[in-house]
């Protein structure tokens, strides 16, 4: 007799299967790997922002006992294949392509640029060796800002480009831009800056490369968001056949966009392992991580808004300059996404968008959680500034301008349909959860006592995955693949190219597959992190909820059909009469017929089932995202600004979110809260700071300030009932939204708090010193 489970795992806060190992110190991160004969690498890095490398003398380092190799840029150049940033290659970049080597040869281009690598018996000795390397530099004028880079007289960082433009100026127009601006009641101009800050996962980058000279196979233990992208990167730059490179990954200590592909350092370490025929480990320390791993944001916008006297936002015209730092990659791809997303959920009639990407002597621009987020910051800031000009309430101006949910859906002026978008509902729900009139009364009372409270709201949508294009057959995010197999012991194994680094996929994907197939959660195993056995995939772009959740659902359905066909042959019944629940196959209406899934699997594996049946209980599934859809929501912050110290305290934070059907609410809320914490940090604390000479000024956690448990408030989250678009898959991504929307939410609240001082805010980084400057400027 079998118990028939009615409950579903999907939608419940199932406890994570990752946690028992993580909570006991049994997780296996890249720095935990120890291979026989393993050596350790450390990098000599440039102290100069921009300089010619006249000579690199590694002889003293080579002579140090325990040092096995000391390799210069020239050494590495002879061992590797030149090429641009891997991301540019993979995304088919056709613009200016700078030429550079893995380690600097002719010149260094930012403080932290790797110049030589020392390989030794221990990391201690490798760092001793670094101290013995003598590099002779000849100063070049540093190109520290985008404005300097765009000056035709600035010295080009890359000789083959001739200037410092990573992506030439381009302009696009959607709708009737000139007509919209000509007929607007008002045209308002703004200049808005977003500052440079960075991912800062608690585990930095790192790898253990291990070359087997006999087999000609390179195995790289990596901390990566995709074992396959890393494999392609290593194969490409080491000149190896991709099938001779295997990439393995275990637990990963966060990434937030940083660990995609293979970094110059990881490639150099791999080349060193091939040269030496021994495993080589490199794990960056925090100073390297802050200085050299990459940084994000730093865009400036000149924005014009066409507005009616009633508060209709009719059109936007934005000119953006993005500071890609040195060694351009992701920074050249981001402007196109910003352009597409700038209208947000609003019924904008016209958009002009111009962008230029500048190359500067700073660490390279990398993807960081919601890489295009500055478009949301600009739009949500502009709406508040307009509301102030017109004397409108920030909630009202948003409610007035969000596109209504219609059938067929309204279409963004940049082309994508706003199918199922619940921005209006999220605004209305925030207004219910936060009593704005009561807050205004409290705010007035507090002001009378010299205390400055402020409230801010902001709204976003995120294409996670985005809607299916109405014209074509293509899905919103390409295809996602998964192999699913019923193992001999009855375990349903999911092989996925997702490479979770905190997202809990080993839990969430198992929840979906367990429900769909009909086995207990514990009977599903999610296999990750081995490029030899998992299909292509990438954890990034908030794609996994829809794309991988969807392929897990459809794949489990296909595997189940296959298992039922086989079971039907063995049990001599029609497959249509069979069910699988709670790990048992049984004939509908007759629980006494139940046979465990593991018994069926064992029969299939034995080859002895006496019938002509397909016993290969495995499927290769793909999913195109189905109907897709948007994630989004409205956040609200209440802050108090101490006008004596400039310190901002976030008193209350409310998030109303719609990420479709929830797979695991606790996991979803963890993603939302984590993103909000990063957004609060970005506004109040974090900045990747450079001096006028290009020196890097935030290379430790004493200088780059991270939000702590005392800086991030308890966050209230509500989930809206979503509008289902797809028959089966309505899970939507939620990884990036918190980081996209928290910065404008908090800045809007700070500006509201400081409104008695006449303060208007056109920037994102508001540490105490800057708050005090704004107050004094406002008073003047």
């Amino acid at each position: 007799m079998t118990a028939i489970a009615a409950e579903r795992y999907t939608g419940a806060s199932i406890k994570r299967s990752e946690d028992p190992r993580i909570l006991t110190g049994a997780g296996r991160y890249v720095d935990d790997i120890k291979l026989p004969g393993m050596l350790h690498a450390a990098f000599v890095r440039s102290p100069m922002a921009h300089a010619r490398v006249l000579s690199v003398d590694v002889s003293a380092a080579r002579a140090l006992p325990g040092v096995v190799a000391a390799l210069t840029g020239a050494d590495l150049e002879a061992m590797t294949v030149p090429g641009p940033d891997l991301l540019m290659t993979l995304m088919g970049w056709a613009g200016p392509t700078p030429e550079f080597t893995l380690l600097a040869t002719d010149k260094v281009r930012f403080v932290g640029d790797p110049v030589a690598v020392i390989v030794a018996q221990s990391r201690y000795i490798a760092e001793d060796g670094c101290d013995l390397v003598e590099v002779d530099y000849d100063d070049l004028p540093p190109v520290v800002t985008a404005a300097l880079a765009l000056d035709p007289g600035s010295p080009p960082l890359f000789a083959n480009l001739g200037d410092n433009i990573a992506s030439p100026h381009s302009r696009s127009e959607f709708g009737d831009v000139s007509g919209t601006f000509a007929h607007a009641d008002r045209i308002i101009d703004f200049h808005i800056d977003v500052h440079r800050h960075q991912n800062v996962p608690m585990e930095g980058r790192g790898c253990v490369a291990s070359y087997d000279a006999d087999l000609g196979v390179m195995t790289v233990h990596a901390a990566t968001q995709s074992v396959h992208v890393t494999r392609i990167g290593v194969a490409t730059r080491l000149g190896m056949e991709p099938d001779k490179v295997r990439v393995l990954a275990g637990d990963i200590g966060g990434s937030f966009g940083l660990k995609i592909g293979a970094s110059r350092e990881e490639l150099a370490v791999s080349a060193a392992s091939r040269l030496l025929g021994q495993p080589v480990k490199w794990v960056e320390d925090r100073s390297e991580n802050l200085t050299a791993s990459g940084q994000a944001r730093e865009e400036s916008f000149d924005v014009r808004a066409a507005v009616s006297n009633d508060g209709d936002l009719l059109g936007l015209d934005a000119k953006m300059v993005i500071d890609t730092g040195s060694y351009p990659g992701m920074g050249t791809m981001v402007p196109a996404i910003m352009q597409a997303m700038l209208p947000g959920p609003y019924k904008l009639a016209a958009l002009g968008f111009e962008s230029t990407a500048a190359i500067t002597n700073k660490a390279p621009y990398v993807a960081y959680r919601g890489p295009w987020a500055s478009e949301t910051f600009v739009r949500e800031r502009v709406l508040d500034l307009i509301a102030k000009d017109l004397g409108l309430d920030p909630l009202d101006i948003r409610l007035r301008n969000v596109a209504p949910r219609t059938d067929p859906p309204a279409v963004m002026i940049t082309g994508r349909p706003l199918a199922g978008v619940t921005s209006r509902e999220s605004l209305e729900r925030v207004a219910q959860l936060v009593d704005f009139p009561a807050f205004r009364r409290r705010q007035a009372e507090a002001r009378a006592q010299g205390r400055y409270l402020g409230i801010g709201v902001a709204t976003f949508i995120e294409a996670a995955p985005g809607p299916r294009s109405p014209e074509g057959p293509s899905g919103p995010m390409g295809l996602e693949s998964m192999r699913l197999r019923l193992e001999e012991d009855g375990i349903v194994a999911l092989f996925t190219g997702q490479m979770p680094h905190g997202q809990s996929h080993q839990t969430t994907l198992a929840q979906i597959a367990a429900d769909e197939f009909g086995v207990p959660f514990e009977q599903v195993r999610v296999v990750i992190g081995d490029s030899d056995i998992v299909p292509f995939g990438l954890t990034g772009g908030s794609r996994s909820a829809t794309m991988t959740g969807g392929v897990a659902l459809h794949g489990a359905r296909q595997l189940k059909a296959k298992v039922l066909d086989f079971a039907a042959s063995v049990m001599e019944v029609s497959a249509q009469d069979l069910l699988i629940t709670d790990g048992n196959v049984w004939v509908r209406g007759d629980p006494a017929t139940a046979i465990s899934v593991s018994e069926i699997a064992g029969r299939a594996a034995s080859g002895q089932f006496g019938v002509d049946a397909d016993a290969k209980l495995e499927v290769e599934a793909t999913f195109d995202g189905g109907e897709g859809g948007w994630s989004g929501g409205t956040h609200c912050a209440i802050v108090e600004v101490d006008v004596e110290t400039g310190i901002v305290k976030v008193e209350r934070y409310v998030a109303v979110e719609d990420c479709g059907a929830l797979i695991n609410p606790a996991v979803v809320e963890g993603q939302i809260r984590g993103g909000i914490a990063q957004g609060i940090g970005a506004v109040l604390l974090e900045r990747s700071a450079y001096g006028e000479d290009g020196s890097f000024q935030s290379a430790t956690f004493m200088d780059y300030l991270m939000p702590t448990a005392c800086d991030v408030p308890r966050i209230e989250i509500e989930h809206l009932e979503t509008v289902p678009l797809d028959a089966d898959v309505n899970f939507r991504g939620v990884g990036e939204g918190g980081m996209i929307i928290a910065p404008p939410t908090v800045v809007n609240a700070i500006e509201d708090a400081l409104s008695p001082f006449g303060v208007r805010i056109y920037e994102q980084h508001l540490p105490p010193g800057r708050i005090l400057e704004l107050i004094s400027t406002g008073i003047d």
Binding site: K15, D31, G253, G674, C710
Partner: protein, 163 residues
């Protein structure tokens, strides 16, 4: 090289090491106790926190030779049977963590704090954990885990007979 003897997770250990080696590196490299993580190596992030003679200590700022003769507890030593201790269980129940890299330090810091402050409330817990950086969670789930552990402890202390 310096020879040291100390107790780690209840067992006597010896090591022969360079004087400059940190306690964290000794635990990870020499004793293979890789549960202790290194997040900054300058004493700010707290990922490497272990308990030395009952006090939470940053093992990246302490030399291994300074631990000679002392009693060190790492994340691996909290529940020697391979299971979860009460705080770890409460953190699992609270979905406290995501990537898990800060986890050992958070757990050790909270263990030391709760043993001295079993009645701590939310604000005290937040202050006690404010020297441990987590980049994933926004801290609320971690604070909730510590609060839950404290509540369970108080519940079992006050009413040992209740289910």
């Amino acid at each position: 090289m310096v020879d040291i003897t100390l107790r780690v997770n209840g067992a006597t250990c010896t090591g022969s090491l360079e004087a400059r080696k940190t306690l964290a590196d000794f635990l990870r490299d020499d004793l293979n106790l890789t549960g202790t993580h290194l997040g900054c190596e300058h004493g700010v992030c707290g990922a490497c926190t272990v308990i030395v003679d009952g006090r939470a200590v940053r093992s990246c700022l302490m030399l291994a030779v300074q631990a000679a003769g002392r009693e060190v507890t790492t994340i691996e030593g909290l529940a020697p049977d391979g299971g979860l201790g009460p705080l770890q269980q409460a953190m699992w129940d609270s979905h406290s963590f995501q990537c898990g890299f800060c986890t050992p330090g958070m757990v050790m810091q909270a263990t030391a704090f709760l043993s001295d402050h079993p009645d701590a409330g939310e604000q005290q817990i937040r202050e006690a954990l404010s020297g441990n950086i987590c980049r994933c969670t926004g801290y609320q789930s971690i604070v909730d885990g510590v609060l839950l552990a404290a509540e369970r402890k108080q519940g079992s202390d006050h009413d040992g007979n209740r289910g």
